[in-house]
């Protein structure tokens, strides 16, 4: 069953077409890899899906609803959660409170936001449960700004999970992590999928990412150039060219 359907997604910045009529679909409980060389439009695509950029054309349909151009907080409330490539914790809040912010997502639109409290036992219990899933329960009462990068990456995931999402958008979750941290996080992502969560993964570290994904979509210069299972895409001539081409340019510098 299709959970997310992207049709003809287009985004221009000051004359530059960052995304050019990109279409793909994500089925329920699959991990889709969104790959491509630097500047291919992955980040723009990611922004359009998470509401941080408004597309100039095309449609995004999530769970049967047209969510094109919705603002981030509405998408978050509707069940699309994202993480940030460069971690963005609420530094002066505790790890637990970071998760609580996202746990409150259903309340912020109602008057009940003024009546209930986030300092009760019940919200704390639920937030601790989420921290346990990502292995951060022991850090619950530390200030988020004091955590090392590996933990902050997991905090990003914890905050996303607190939205009880149906679709999880991961923006380079493995960047800057040590090997064992990467393995642990990859295992967590695989585990989440096994529990029925759908994931879109943007990642540069191909070895980890290719092992994790069920299907791959490759962008280059804002256009979709290949889609399919990892093995098929790996051998695709246009994909090889896109990657090798940029590599050659990079080496030329």
């Amino acid at each position: 069953m299709t959970l997310l359907e992207v049709t003809g997604l287009t985004k221009r910045y000051a004359g530059l077409t960052a995304l050019d009529r990109v279409s793909f679909a994500v089925s329920e409980a699959e991990i889709l890899g969104l790959f491509g060389p630097n500047g291919a439009g992955k980040t723009t695509c990611f922004h359009c899906l998470s509401g941080f950029a408004v597309p100039d054309g095309g449609r995004v349909v999530f769970d049967g609803r047209d969510v094109t151009g919705w603002p981030p907080h509405r998408l978050a409330q509707a069940g699309i959660a994202r993480t940030f490539q460069i971690v963005r914790p609420f530094r002066n809040l505790t790890v637990l409170d970071n998760v609580l912010v996202a746990l409150g997502h259903r309340r912020y639109e109602r008057l009940g936001a003024l009546l209930g409290t986030w300092r009760g036992r019940e919200p704390r219990r639920r937030a601790l449960g989420i921290l346990e899933r990502v292995g951060l329960a022991a850090e619950a009462d530390r200030m988020a700004g004091l955590l090392p990068l590996g933990m902050l990456k997991r905090l990003e995931v914890a905050r996303a999970l607190a939205l009880a999402p149906r679709l999880l958008l991961l923006d380079e979750p493995f960047g800057g992590l040590a090997a064992e941290e990467t393995a642990a996080l990859a295992a967590l992502v695989a585990d989440l999928r096994a529990q029925g969560l759908t994931v879109v993964l943007v990642e540069h570290q191909m070895r980890v990412a290719m092992a994790l994904v069920d299907r791959v979509v490759v962008l280059d210069h804002g256009a979709l150039i290949a889609a399919g299972p990892p093995d098929a895409v790996r051998g695709d001539a246009r994909v090889v060219e896109a990657y090798l081409g940029t590599d050659a340019v990079a080496r030329g510098h």
Partner: protein
């Protein structure tokens, strides 16, 4: 009687710093125009009671409502301009509001509005001690509002907005709405203070509400510890009473405030009693030890 005068003034300062703390300390939206909202509240109360013979209490409510509406407008502006540009926008708002008071005859021009009646109780007029008690109740109300906010999910959303707007949006927080909420609540408190101020002085004029006073309020908040209600109250108390104790300080008030702002930012950005200040941490350790 002098004691009541000073105490009442300190109470008004407290309401102002608590209101600014809602906007700048809790929600992280810097405002350099808080005195303008004090002025809007004061002028509303003064015009209604002097010219339209309103009773003190309905005029108080009107002052709060009008000021909160003006604050909501500025909060809407905070959606488009961020951080330092919000700071200079609010600074501009302060200048414009004072100019309007000064140049529109409706507001009494440079002479302002005089003959503002003392607040009345059903039993008769409130004396100075009565007014002080009223202001004290106002301080408790402002403190209660902030404590309530911080306890509620709204408060958590405001804290998240302060820490990182984009991350807050990704976590389901409607940042725009909560900025307006913060400005509305904070300026409503300034409106409350404005009504008290007008009836306390019985005479108000435009220069009472200038940029310098906005800086004074900010300075009190920074000095006590921005982001905390105890800091807001301590700052208002200490910096409010100092010029009364040391007259020379009153003459060099702005120089002192300027120095405090610079030195606090340089060496003690969390103020005297902020959560991360040396003093507060030492106190927390002592409480935790036994």
């Amino acid at each position: 009687m002098y004691v009541y005068t000073v105490a009442t003034l300190l109470g008004i300062y407290c309401i102002l710093t608590l209101g600014l703390n809602t906007i700048t300390g809790i929600a992280g939206q810097i405002s350099l125009g808080h005195a303008a909202f004090l002025g809007i509240g004061a002028y509303t109360a003064a015009i209604l009671t002097v010219r339209h013979a309103w009773d003190f209490w309905p005029a108080l409510l009107a002052a709060v409502a009008v000021t909160a509406a003006a604050g909501a407008l500025v909060g809407a502006a905070a959606i488009r301009v961020r951080e330092d540009f919000l700071a200079i926008t609010t600074m501009g708002v302060n200048f414009v509001v004072v100019a309007v008071f000064l140049y529109f005859p409706f507001f009494g021009g440079a002479f302002g509005i005089g003959g503002i009646p003392a607040p009345s109780w059903p039993g008769g007029s409130l004396g100075k001690p009565g007014l002080f008690l009223l202001v004290l109740a106002g301080v408790l109300l402002a403190l209660g509002v902030n404590l309530w906010l911080l306890r509620s999910w709204v408060g958590l959303a405001l804290l998240a907005t302060r820490e990182d707007e984009d991350a807050a949006r990704a976590a389901g927080v409607n940042v725009r709405r909560f900025k307006i909420v913060a400005f509305t609540v904070g300026t409503a408190l300034a409106g409350l203070a404005g009504s008290f101020y007008a009836h306390f002085l019985t005479f108000i004029s435009p220069e009472d509400f200038g940029f310098a006073f906005s800086i004074t309020i900010l300075c009190m908040l920074v000095f006590g510890g921005i982001g905390t209600n105890r800091g807001a109250i301590l700052g208002a108390g200490v910096l409010g009473v100092l010029p009364e104790l040391f007259r020379p300080l009153a003459d060099y008030r702005m120089l002192t405030y300027g120095a405090i702002l610079l030195l606090m930012m340089r060496w003690a950005p969390h103020g005297l009693l902020g959560d991360e200040s040396a003093l507060w941490r030492a106190l927390a350790r002592r409480r935790g030890a036994p």
